[in-house]
Subunit: 406 residues, 2 copies
Amino acid sequence: MITENIMKKLSISNEKKILLIVMDGVGDIEIDDVDTISTPLAVANKPNIDKLSRKSALGEGIPVDIGITPGSGPAHLSLFGYDPLKYDIGRGVLEAAGIGLKIKKGNIAIRGNFATIDDNGIIVDRRAGRISTEKNKELIDYLRGKIKNIEDINVEFYAGKEHRCVILLRGEGLYDNVNDTDPQKEGEKILRAKTNDSKSAKTAEICNKLSDEIISVLKSFHPTNALLMRGISNPPDLPSMNELFNLKSVCIATYPMYKGLAQIVGMDVINDLFTITEQIEMLKENYDKYDFFYFHIKKTDSYGEDGNYGGKIQVIEEFDKYFMEITDMNFDLIVITGDHSTPWRMKGHSFHTTPIMFYSKYFLRFRDNLEFNENSCQKGSIGTIYSKDLMQLMLAHTLKLLKYGA
Amino acid sequence: MITENIMKKLSISNEKKILLIVMDGVGDIEIDDVDTISTPLAVANKPNIDKLSRKSALGEGIPVDIGITPGSGPAHLSLFGYDPLKYDIGRGVLEAAGIGLKIKKGNIAIRGNFATIDDNGIIVDRRAGRISTEKNKELIDYLRGKIKNIEDINVEFYAGKEHRCVILLRGEGLYDNVNDTDPQKEGEKILRAKTNDSKSAKTAEICNKLSDEIISVLKSFHPTNALLMRGISNPPDLPSMNELFNLKSVCIATYPMYKGLAQIVGMDVINDLFTITEQIEMLKENYDKYDFFYFHIKKTDSYGEDGNYGGKIQVIEEFDKYFMEITDMNFDLIVITGDHSTPWRMKGHSFHTTPIMFYSKYFLRFRDNLEFNENSCQKGSIGTIYSKDLMQLMLAHTLKLLKYGA
């Protein structure tokens, strides 16, 4: 991957249109220690995708590094053309993105856990008995009424699921080199936020005062009488896709976290989408307005996490039914890939490569003439690349990069 | 790629002989958006090259980075074993190399454009009506007579084609962190050379005085009454191939730019070569004197740039007729590759990988037993490597590298 400075010099804008379809966690594995069943991608009946696949070049992507299982944050940064080992998306920021919050440069996002402490301040339950999401919302409303700022810093509370919430700090001079206040075990006191970095001292002070204030406000709410803070973080200070790649980009996704991630790299985000039909409708409606479209399909990952082999196949087959509508739109370049693999037998993200189907109207050296699955991708003419380099390939094949050097 | 310090420690000299044949821009693509035609390399009848190819290992090279289209400068640096993203060959230096000038460390080379300015110093024609090369030579002769130095700096003028020329500055304390004086558009004044870097202040001052002096000397030569400066640059400060790889190397090329590039990395250069026959003659004549031979064939690129499919095939077939003479010379290692691809349908350099044919008498793990073309190279046992790493493979297979570590 070239440096960002060189990329800024080489990238140019033109009218060619790129569609990046991320089937979340789509890659899978064939075998475990007892049997061999082909992967969902190989088994699914997907004539429309395979038709385009035969005209495509195939390959494999390494999401972060060889053997490394990525979270959704780094896996997506990679696909968006950023080095996931350079830019760190903190847990607080990811949690905030996950509930669709906009976090600006210099803000701090914190993942909060409601917890129970005893009279001596000792944590007796790190999840306050896993309170209900409704109860959570009530408590957040109450906190909002009581705490609006600590010193000159604005404090905002947002409910998550069960015992989880997000706190945003907005104001001047907030840096994130600060430890969690959650000691990660019961029987201990809430930690004080500390730092060795003088720039982050203010954040530590605000977090400690906020922690004390919450305990004082929630005094009568036993067992939910404290809040543990984790992943106290600024959003990564990265150049937008527009600055870096000269791309006007848009996110067409249904789940908040992916919209949040897209927003972090400066994409426009279309809200209130719930079905593939609606997503495709928005693709059509916005076709003229953008030159990079990020289209996210969540359920391949969800079924993978559930260990649901049939479910994963079904999502692929269902998407295939709509795929002709997409190819009819006449994109100059269409890529289908995953952000990472989520093998159904592993019930979670894995370290495997992601299959890449790379269709370009122009300048492909070969069309591999193969169907789209892990096996054919492993033989594809793109070979195995780091996912972060995929953006360079997409820009190159749509003539969005100038020549390097004379 | 290992660091230069490690390379200097590991590289040793021995009697084994390496021949690197660069068929400029030889790589091509099979398809565009409407049809599929095999590549010139696949179609050309080249029995002698293919005979050696069957005993070779094949692979692909990434000239600079995935998806990046390289100029000739970075593409060649890579093949010579230098990191093309570390060493920048400025436009002035490349232009100077292009007309065969020797530029030493600490010199400054400038690409000049003769231009027309009005009485108020406004540029009215950035190319002075594209004057003839003959007229250019006259003007350069005149300037040579009038301007020999600015302060303690020696100034040399060299004619290029049409409105283009090269200026060399020789003397002490010349650094190149200086902007162009060419504003790149008409209707504006010639820019002053400026810098934020105190080391480069002298260069800026000399360039500005030179620019004024030229205008004063050319006063009566309307419409050719000014000179715009671009790519004010020092040659890259790189270790020679001898220092780095312990190689005695020689360039056997017909075109000035490639001789210039070879000279920058410290190769000896054989001049006055015009045909392949003459190049082969020189290869024979110098066989005993060197251990690394860079043999450059230009026309594959020229025909690619012209969009001439048949022409590109013909150059490959013609070279093949002489190829037996080369294999008869008994080199220990022969590589055929391109510096970059120049697909005939794209009429220019492209971002595609370059095919690599790697013949070694010793220590190849496999002989791929395939003919030499993009398709077989894509399947070859070398795989896809960065072109800058090819040198390490060449040195390894001729036992010119010591073991790393104990």
